[in-house]
Amino acid sequence: MMQTQYVGSPVKRKEDPRLIKGESTYLDDIKLPGMLYAAFLRSSYPHAKIKRIDVSQALTLEGVVAVYTGKDLKDAVGPLVVESINRGSKVPSHYPLAVDEVKFVGEPVAVVVAEDRYVAKDALERIIVEYEPLPAVVDPEKALEDEAPKVHEDYEDNVCFRWKKAFGDVEQSFSNADEVIEARFRIQRLAPTAMEPRGVVAHYDALNRILTIWSSTQFPHKLRTWVATSLNWPENRIRVITPEVGGGFGSKLNHYPEEVVIPYLAVKLGRPVKWFEERRENLQATTHGRDMIAYVKAAVKRDGKILGLKVRLIADLGAYNYVYTQDNPLVAARMIPGCYKLESIELDVVGVFTNKIATDAYRGAGRPEASYIIERTVDRIARKLGIDPAEIRRRNFIQPSEFPYKTVTKFVYDTGNYEAALNKALELLKYSEVRAEQERLRGEGRYIGVGLSSFVEVCNFSYQSASVRVEPTGKVLVFTSTSPHGQGEETAFAQIVADVFGVDMDSVQVIHGDTLAIPYGWGTAGSWTLTSGGNAILKACKEIREKMLKIAAAKLEARPEDLEMREGRIFVKDAPDKSLSFEEVAGIAYDPESIPEGMEIGLATTSFYVPNLTFPFGAYAAVVEVFPESGEVKLLKLVLVNDVGKVVNPMLVEGQVHGGAAQAIGQAIYEEIAYTEDGVLLTDTLSEYLIPTAVEIPWMITDRTETPAPNPLGTKGVGEMGAIGLAQAIVNAVEDALTPFDVKIEDTPVTPAYLWKLVNAEKKE
């Protein structure tokens, strides 16, 4: 019995059978005849001159095929591509292997190619590098000081870019204010830490002159373009294939050194080459996320109305720009107004070079920072003015009638109803009961706290292509330029297609991750896959559906508008006996003898969909207990209400929220990429970089409101919501719990040692 309506239904995933049996092929599962293994020698210094590299010992090791240094590759493999370049910014040239100088721990300086992976690693030990250590700087505020060590000798300072802009009349807002509240927030550096580290396999087919690259990437087409640029190789002679990808979270949408060096080696050595990252390399040299410091001044009225903000944002970018490094701080800055009506805002953003790997996209990419800053500020304002945190939000929300709403920073929010989401969250939370409980427990010397986060985010940045083919036997092939790696769109897209054609989901096959087969598009990131990819597919399917109805209409002697496509058949609405099966119509479309006069053979089309930015939103609440004697935080209750527009598969949507939320819990309490003052990376294994396990994550209560978006699918995007909305709710809750101690939490993660210190600093006074 065929389901007649798949969209909106929690259908089991098509991806799962191969994954639960361990049958799929991830990057390290790829084995090609004659394949060699590469290993990279990486700098353990944050900043040093390379005086000399001696690879002679490595070359004598049995099983080693070749060793190359930065000097060897400099002329053949060009600098890495950077796309996000802000006006007036400095973009240092970044070669895949360091040539004269290393500027961050983990920067590759040499590559070994050998017959097996163990020998390759052995050879690394035999390479002698003579370094001359140089002073390093890892604190962005120190990097801005006059006497700071310079990351790049050629530049006069460590500023990559400055962006300062005032919207509205800021001075007026501040002179009209009853109070000005100030705050400093530091959002720490995080590592996306996909469970599968990165890897690349490359194979050069000299007969057909095609260079095939398998990469654990989120952006197959973009990668192809970038590699074509760096290697000076024609783009149409490169094929990028994504195998099964074990998570990305933004860390795999970049242009990495290994992704050009390995293909170069495959060509040069005439044999396939594989490289697979070790976790330590991943934590050192795969792009990091967040790492911003915000100084906020809020101009407010006594009744809680926020008039304007002044925000200085210092973003630690690392030593080199990667593709989108310069984006995060500006997206963050422009989303700071959040759900609120502000008259004015002054934004002063500086991107700073430090001796670390670059920051770049990490689940939320600027929007978690933005909502963290505004939502923590709002709670501070509420506490200062003695107004309930939920109430103060209501007083400042953009109202439903005001959409589409142009914010003070010139984003146009499409649809929203922030109060409805907040009210739902408070209802699920049982807000007044929790407050009463808080009061009661305080009497017993126990400290629980409630924290809220009302947030809006921006997504759907990039266009996608969809090629849809209905084959002669009625089976459907869908090629999408998106590149899902766990999000489940092989299923969600099949749901959409099955509904358009009225067929069984099993007749629909969704294919992604091969640049040879699929027209150009932007892969998967930015919560855009379902909406951009899905709308492209919808567009293409509708075109084919129209053609099929025309064919059927001619055969059934009816008008196309009188026909319906359902349950595998195309039939006249009022006379359902007059029908043809979906397969029959497909067969006719490919048969020159049967196809109606004047119609073109075939059912195949490609569509491109250019999306408008869309603005999902949510309201989250956290209840915590804090133990001042030890600084420990226990999560008691988490409520997450999301509004992501219409929903194709609610089970997948909920899964995305859970995953993002878990990362936000990591951000709030456990995770930090930490360096010593001299630039030594302390957290380079999973014993030190603490990702929450199942005992750290409580049961999460999730729900939705639904405010459709103005696009044909009515969907927005959900992938990053959990990561954007939750961290500040938790930290707000901790600060709320510690109200009797009057502490101001500036930093995350709120480790026991940090909280204990804050509480006791208070006590000592």
Binding site: D122, L124, E629, S630, Y670, A674, L682, L690, E696
Partner: protein, 294 residues
């Protein structure tokens, strides 16, 4: 797995064979049991390049048996077995409790008590309970047997009283008596699979219901080896037990420890947490006694 090219691995099936190899190879060989810590260190290059004596298959070193007033645990016994052993849960409870916290279940399944002792991380969770249970370590070689009390076994940071021809074969702990109570506490940065910031084992002998005839307290992760908190012990033995005396005694622990700053916490934080841990631990022991309906 660099740095291990050309190593030999010996995999004896009996203790006798293993001891003979140790006699012959001595320093040239590194003993590997479960390997849960050793393999990580080897990957890191912290271990010098040596051949391996893989004793994992020597089943005769896996046992938990009753002795005279003691429990005898074979050095290869896994922490899963220790945590679930009825004998240990009844007669040396704090060791079973500690075994349950050393790491994830997969690690508990493979890591051995002997390996944990010889690896000698100051933060090892199994060591403080062994201190307060007056553990004796049995070291065998072709020459004979040596029995070393655990407190003499550790001479300094990772400096052990064990010869290169000796193998740790057994850990013997005292059986807890009817009038004894104990507790093991661990403070880590996360609940699941964490390295201790501070851990502590407490063992008391009651004098009636309201005083301690004897107190033994051992702490880990706050000094180069596990240490006994003798100042606390003295402050508690025979004293009246009330909030002020308990807090005072707990506070004295700072005299017995020498913590450092590291990625998991500052020395100051560790000092404070040590005091808290002892305070909490002592009260839990006292409350349990009171609840027992005496």
């Amino acid at each position: 797995m660099n740095r291990l090219h050309d190593i030999e691995v010996y995999s004896p099936k009996t203790l006798e064979e293993a001891l003979e190899i140790l006699r012959r190879e001595g320093d040239r060989v590194k003993v590997i049991a479960g390997g849960t810590d050793l393999i990580i260190q080897m990957k890191d290059g912290i271990m010098p390049r040596k051949n391996l004596l893989n004793i994992y298959s020597i089943d005769e070193l896996r046992y938990i048996r009753m002795g005279n007033d003691s429990i005898r645990i074979g050095a290869l016994t896994s922490f899963t077995d220790i945590a679930s052993s009825a004998l240990i849960r009844n007669y040396a409870r704090i060791l079973a409790d500690a075994a349950n916290t050393i790491g994830s279940i997969q690690i508990m399944n493979k890591a051995s008590i002997g390996g944990n002792l010889v690896n000698a991380s100051p933060a090892a969770d199994s060591i403080p309970p062994l201190y307060v249970l007056d553990a004796v370590l049995v070291l065998r070689s072709v020459e004979g047997v040596r029995e070393v009390p655990i407190q003499s076994f550790y001479r300094g940071y990772k400096k052990l009283d064990i010869r290169s021809d000796e193998l740790l074969t057994e850990v013997r702990v005292r059986r807890m008596a009817e009038d004894e109570d104990g507790i093991f506490l661990k403070h880590g940065l996360r609940l699941g699979d964490a390295i201790s910031v501070v851990n502590a084992a407490l063992l008391v002998k009651w004098d009636g219901d309201d005083r301690f005839k004897d107190v033994k307290i051992a702490l880990g992760a706050v000094a180069p080896t596990v240490v006994r908190a003798r100042s606390c012990e003295e402050a508690l033995t025979g004293k009246e037990l009330n909030d002020s005396t308990i807090w005072d005694a707990a506070s004295k622990v700072v005299n017995d420890i020498s913590p450092i700053d590291d990625v998991r916490g500052t020395a100051e934080y560790r000092r404070e947490m040590s005091v808290n841990l002892l305070y909490i631990g002592l009260w839990e022991i006292i409350n349990k006694r009171n609840q027992a309906g005496w």
